[in-house]
């Protein structure tokens, strides 16, 4: 099985640690991973801002980079959801459709495709899990508090395999952090307030780390934590699953 590793642009540039952990974790689990060097961005920042018509260049690049793989895996729910919902390439429609159905967010790939039952990871810390909305409500990586349905959590089940981890409870299990792409600057006041409220919930329950499947939410929460002078850190879930 060969997996094409898709690393979201801002993770590539600002959070290489999350990307390296994803790569190493997949390799540890016996997967042959290739990172196509010509990848850039999924096009979501434009599309969510109403400029979906400008994403052709990104779409074409994406198809060219990832058409040949058995699976495409990314340490992000949001970017994967964007590709699943919006990747189109009129000249190569079948390849685009293939990518849409074979792209996975990391934790779902681990639980559903690789069917991981145990991990050699160790992370002896108090950790709060932030449910990123696009992964949760878009890709259904975990159950949602609004719905009357059985509870489950793919990231939660993986974290529970990690030795020494102490997962904290939250007052609001799945409230949005307020990042929201360009929303974080166009609606700065509300975005920052939402982030502060999320951070407060984790702090109140004694988190040492805040983790999640999307680095974008974590980048936003990290910005707030640092401004508050907090010692609490953010860490991508891949880094915990790959730790120890």
């Amino acid at each position: 099985m060969t997996v094409g590793l898709f690393i979201p642009c801002y993770v590539d540039q600002f959070y290489p640690g999350a990307a390296i952990a994803t790569l190493e974790l997949l390799e540890k689990l016996g997967v042959n991973v290739v990172y196509p060097m010509n990848q850039t961005c999924c096009g979501q920042p434009m599309a969510n801002s109403g400029f979906e018509h400008l994403t052709k260049g990104c779409d074409e690049l994406f198809v060219k980079n990832f058409a040949g793989f058995d699976y495409i895996v990314a340490p992000s729910g949001s970017c994967v959801l964007h590709i699943r919902d919006h990747l189109h390439y009129s000249q190569r429609p079948d390849e685009a459709a293939g990518i849409r159905s074979r792209i996975f967010e990391l934790t779902t790939f681990l639980t559903d495709i690789l069917q991981v039952k145990s991990l050699p990871a160790k992370f002896p810390h108090r950790v709060g899990l932030h449910q990123s909305c696009h992964g949760q409500r878009g890709l259904h990586v975990s159950s949602m508090t609004e719905l009357v349905a059985p509870e489950f959590s793919k990231p939660g089940s993986l974290l529970s395999m990690v030795a020494g981890i102490d997962l904290i409870e939250l007052n609001r299990k799945d409230e949005c952090c307020g990042f929201g792409g360009t929303f974080c600057v166009t609606e700065e006041a509300v975005s920052a307030k939402m982030g502060k409220d999320r951070v407060a919930d984790h702090l109140q329950h004694g988190a040492e780390y805040i983790t999640g499947v999307d680095m974008s939410c974590l980048m936003h929460l990290e910005g707030i934590l640092k401004r508050q002078g907090s010692k609490v850190k953010v860490i991508h879930i891949a880094e915990i699953l790959n730790a120890g």
């Binding site: 690393i7 642009c9 993770v11 590539d12 540039q13 600002f14 959070y15 290489p16 390296i20 990172y35 060097m37 850039t40 961005c41 096009g43 920042p45 434009m46 969510n48 801002s49 109403g50 400029f51 979906e52 018509h53 400008l54 052709k56 260049g57 990104c58 690049l61 909305c133 409500r137 878009g138 949602m144 508090t145 609004e146 719905l147 009357v148 349905a149 799945d174 409230e175 949005c176 307020g178 990042f179 929201g180 792409g181 929303f183 974080c184 166009t186 609606e187 700065e188 006041a189 509300v190 920052a192 307030k193 939402m194 982030g195 409220d197 936003h220 910005g223 707030i224 640092k226 401004r227």
Partner: protein, 459 residues
């Protein structure tokens, strides 16, 4: 009720100047969301109920023409006078005419978001007609000369102390009273006099049954009933999407409506109106006001399934932290943001962007409107129609060029990290909205691509 020219982001910023108030507003509405969750989870078939409601409404929207004519015929046979209004102004004129015909200059009105949408109170005031809103929350905002900030809880933005102040000023109670029971009793006495003296009463409509020609009005205060039972003329204003095919379908909607709205099993009063009592005249006004245009928009038509429960507002993390007035429309929150651009794209171009697209709204919607997906689609429409700010357009075009070229992308990434490292003052300033309340990420020594090229790509 002056219309603001400020956009959602600016109004939300103003609302956020008082953080304690934002916390209070957020907690109050979150408490209602939790009540909704609790009662929904007591109904094991909740998700099938939502699906049933959604399908019934889909059927209504696909056959609206037939149901409307069927309703008109049956209502007329029951003795109800049926009027058709193409838009807000026509609706307001019809109401005015009915009031004139009754030879009165005062009317009592129970909650109707449609009349807010049509600006009825202002219209009638300009023509010398006094309207008193009888819903407690609406009466409060009316006294404050404001518009409702929430479609179910119109004065949710007001604290009890502020209500005491208003009642002191307008209803003659002592100053500094904030006891809810005392305030409610004050309103009750005040409204009793209104109910007893008004000859014309207007209500909204929650559901109209095509098969029987009757309509149902849901309230918790019984104020709709008090108004119409004592009046000679009952006017009911309804949007044409409020129809349901048969009475039995109420069994689906009445179970969903108030559980979704406030976490109650059912509204205290679900009153059926089928025919005027002897000596009374009953009018129903069927209002389009943009609804058929929305029905013609493939991507947005199912927004007309809405039963106005406001669950999407209570759950919306943006609404809870920006307040209903920041949406500058009669219907605020996520549902308002997909309805309003249909009425006026230019004026409401900001609203579909007042969301993180978290999707919670779609999950709580009792009729399964794909609200957050429609927000995304409205963004595309608004940009194509030319309503994007120029700065954003230029920025997006720049991003497109950079992200479509791997070479440019790597160059830009490197430049960005260099700036953060060696010239942080270039971004850590007040021109950068991110930096106002958040630190920028720490620039790493190298990107993942660079690391990969050094460590793995020799393979």
């Amino acid at each position: 009720m002056e219309q603001s020219t400020k956009d959602h982001a600016e109004l939300a910023r103003e609302f956020n100047r008082d953080e304690e108030r934002v916390n209070w507003h957020d907690e109050t509405l979150w408490w209602i969301r939790q009540k909704r969750d609790k009662i929904a989870h007591q109904v094991p078939e909740w998700e099938s109920l939502r699906e049933a409601a959604s399908q019934i409404k889909n059927n209504v929207l696909s056959n609206l023409h037939n149901y409307l004519l069927q309703f008109e015929q049956n209502a007329q046979a029951n003795g109800i006078e049926v009027h058709w209004a193409a838009d807000a102004i026509e609706h307001n004129r019809i109401v005015h005419q009915i009031i004139n015909d009754a030879n009165v200059v005062r009317m009592v009105k129970s909650k109707s978001m449609l009349t807010e949408e049509c600006g009825l109170n202002e219209y009638l005031a300009q023509h010398g007609i006094e309207v008193i809103d009888s819903d407690l929350g609406e009466r409060i905002v009316q006294l404050a000369k404001e518009s409702p900030s929430h479609i179910v809880l119109p004065c949710i933005h007001k604290k009890k102390e502020e209500i005491g102040e208003l009642f002191h000023k307008y209803l003659g109670i002592d100053a500094n009273i904030s006891d809810p029971q005392f305030l409610t009793e004050t309103a009750r006495q005040h409204l009793r006099e209104i109910f007893l003296t008004r000859k014309v009463a207007l209500t909204g409509v929650n559901f109209a049954v095509a098969d029987t020609g009757e309509f149902v009005v849901c309230t918790n205060e019984g104020n709709a009933d008090m108004g119409v039972h004592l009046a000679d003329v009952h006017i009911a204003s309804m949007g044409i999407e409020k129809l349901i095919p048969e009475r039995k379908h109420l069994g689906v909607f009445l179970r969903l409506l108030t559980r979704s709205a406030t976490g109650q099993p059912i509204t205290t009063y679900s009153s059926h109106f089928k025919k005027p009592r002897e000596g009374q005249r009953m009018h129903i006004i069927l209002v389009d006001n943009g609804r058929t245009a929305q029905l013609g928009r493939k991507d947005f038509r199912n927004s007309l399934k809405c039963i106005r429960c406001a669950a999407c507002m209570n759950t919306c993390p943006v609404y809870r932290r920006s307040g209903g007035h920041s949406y500058h429309t009669a219907i605020a929150g996520p549902i308002g943001s997909i309805l309003a651009p249909n009425l006026d794209m230019k004026k409401n171009a900001d609203l579909p962007f007042a969301s993180t697209l978290c999707g919670s709204c779609s999950n709580v919607c009792p009729v399964k409107i794909d609200i957050h997906e429609q927000l995304y689609k409205w963004r595309q429409v608004l940009v194509k129609e030319g309503y994007a700010p120029t700065v954003k357009k230029v920025l997006m075009q720049g991003m497109t060029i950079t992200l479509s070229s791997p070479a440019l992308y790597h160059l830009a990434g490197k430049a960005g990290r260099w700036v953060l490292k060696y010239a942080p003052f270039a971004v850590n300033n007040k021109l950068n909205p991110w930096y106002k309340q958040r630190d920028m990420p720490e620039p790493p020594a190298e990107s993942f691509s660079e690391w990969y090229a050094e460590n793995r790509s020799k393979l």
